[in-house]
Symmetry: C2
Subunit: 333 residues, 2 copies
């Protein structure tokens, strides 16, 4: 980082769709009868959300949103974190604001007044712990370039953007404006590819983005293979190594691979009783960025990331109820 | 049951305060700094609820309410269940209605329009799994005798009332009206004492109620000792044996004791990893009543009750996400 830039006030600024999750367990037959693609995130409108909710089993509600989960978990790990995303001025918006603020995250985005309600993600968890998501974007479609405060972007060591942000059209301009502001301030830009179907919807834009604007890339196996349109994880990983300065690629139970220049670090997955995989990737990115911005080694970043992911996988909901600082205190530098 | 009464359409009709829970983990110091009595339920007003919520860590929301939890869990176990309680016409009211209806419970009570919001219970879970509750009754105070449909009461084999229903004043008249209607139809009346402090608030009324109007009594050790103002569980249990036809008294890890006339059945607690004890007593009553109304033995009732309680104790939230029918399928008749 050039010495002409002031010291960052935040370790991470995350920007994403601000969403409240509704999680309910259901059998494989529920996915089949509602034509859902297992493990994926689909966008639905308000009417479809009402119909799906009516059909869903009893559930639990908690704050979600991919980058918001990452922000909350990174803050729980001790990182200094800010978040931008759009909720409505309604009960769920207040729940979202409470949860991210109580986690210690600075959340300056004003709520949307008189527009769509706070976004909801209806999540069906099958007995194997896989989550299948249906998102009603609601107030998120109102997030725009005007919501990006460049002074906050400039004050954060890493700008973290979720790929889902490409779904609401106005957010794309905010996405590029934030990335440009970060680089102008000498900061790094991180991107999570979010979902293989999301990559498919926006592949050309993502390819250009990754090659031209991203320093740190997070993706799972399906997402990185979708980005580079290959069936070979190894081939995709080598393409990512060429495109970005640092890539952290997750492979579920097979752990993760971290690539930085010629260096490759392989990290084992933390053992976990699989209850609900919602937010596992978000928590991985949180642990990784909290450790990275604290100056830890890549191996330590991978270990903290894996422990955070395991804590989320062992419970319902995307934000760990466990004491993450205690769980990760023993990770060697 | 006299043969002149028609066969019941419901196994259980539960009546109680309709509440949405907000559950968050916190340390013992949080209880001390907010002057909370660990394990108890305190009533708070809207302003206190806002202040406490602002101070609470990030949480998870799920439908609660003691008798509503019992209704939902009994229905998950296959019982035919109805529930009466008052929510508002707001987002949390819709969540409550969704969850209890999706569990298979008939919920005829219309929402309150233009009044107080849906009730909330702010629940702090300490590392030992104990829950400490602060309830803002909201729309529950509008539940009254006019909300009790005597035809539904008459159609249920067991009327189940939560002791908490004595806190909102108008509900007390509903309580007695429902009990009278149940007995007039040849049905049984069950009561849960809910909380030792609640018993303390209404001891004289509860003593009269138990002796004169209740056939089946549920209580934990602290509650039954508070009711009879004794430090001896054994002494309290004998007084309960004299007062009611059937009593199921729970003792946490020490299991439970079922008393019916001269008969005493001792039931071991089901082993569980303690995460959050919210709803353990509600689930116990649900398992007991589902088995009882299915004609099972008292020992089987106690076993099903203990398994249902253990399923709730092992997760955050008062309603089990696990498949309870599968968990209890092996219990012998």
């Amino acid at each position: 980082m050039p010495t002409s830039h002031p010291a960052p006030r935040f370790d991470v600024l995350a920007i994403g769709n601000a969403i409240v999750d509704v999680v309910a367990p259901a059998g494989e037959d529920f996915l089949a009868s509602h034509a859902m693609s297992k493990g994926a995130m689909a966008l639905i409108d308000a009417a479809a959300a009402d119909a799906l909710y009516a059909a869903m089993p009893p559930g639990q509600e908690s704050s979600g949103g991919s980058a918001a989960n990452t922000a909350a978990v990174a803050a729980m790990l001790g990182a200094r974190v800010a978040y931008m995303g759009k909720v409505a001025d309604d009960i769920l918006g207040k729940v979202f604001r409470h949860d991210i603020t109580a986690a210690g995250v600075h959340f300056p985005t004003p709520p949307l007044v008189g527009g769509a309600p706070t976004a909801r993600c209806l999540i069906v968890v099958t007995p194997d712990g896989q989550r299948t998501m249906n998102t009603f974007l609601g107030a998120c479609v109102a997030f725009a370039e005007t919501d990006v405060d460049a002074s906050v972007v400039a004050a954060a060591s890493v700008l973290y953007l979720e790929g889902y942000l490409f779904d609401p059209p106005a957010a794309q301009a905010a996405f590029y404006a934030a990335a440009d502001a970060a680089h102008a301030a000498g900061r790094r830009v991180a991107l999570s590819l979010s979902d293989a179907f999301c990559v498919g919807r926006h592949r050309a834009a993502f390819r250009e983005l990754v090659a031209e604007h991203v320093d740190i890339l997070f993706a799972n196996e399906a997402e990185i293979c979708s980005l580079y349109e290959t069936d070979s994880f190894d081939a995709a990983a080598e393409l990512a190594r060429d495109d970005v300065a640092l890539a952290a690629l997750t492979r579920g139970e097979a752990g993760s691979v971290i690539l930085q220049g010629a260096e490759t670090v392989t990290v084992a997955a933390e053992p976990a009783t699989v209850v609900d995989t919602t937010g596992a990737g978000d928590a991985y990115a949180a642990g990784f960025l909290a450790a990275l911005t604290a100056g830890r080694s890549l191996a330590a970043c991978g270990r903290v990331a894996s422990i955070a992911a395991a804590a989320v996988i062992g419970q319902y909901g995307a934000r760990p109820m466990a004491d993450l600082k205690a769980l990760t205190a023993g990770v060697a530098l």
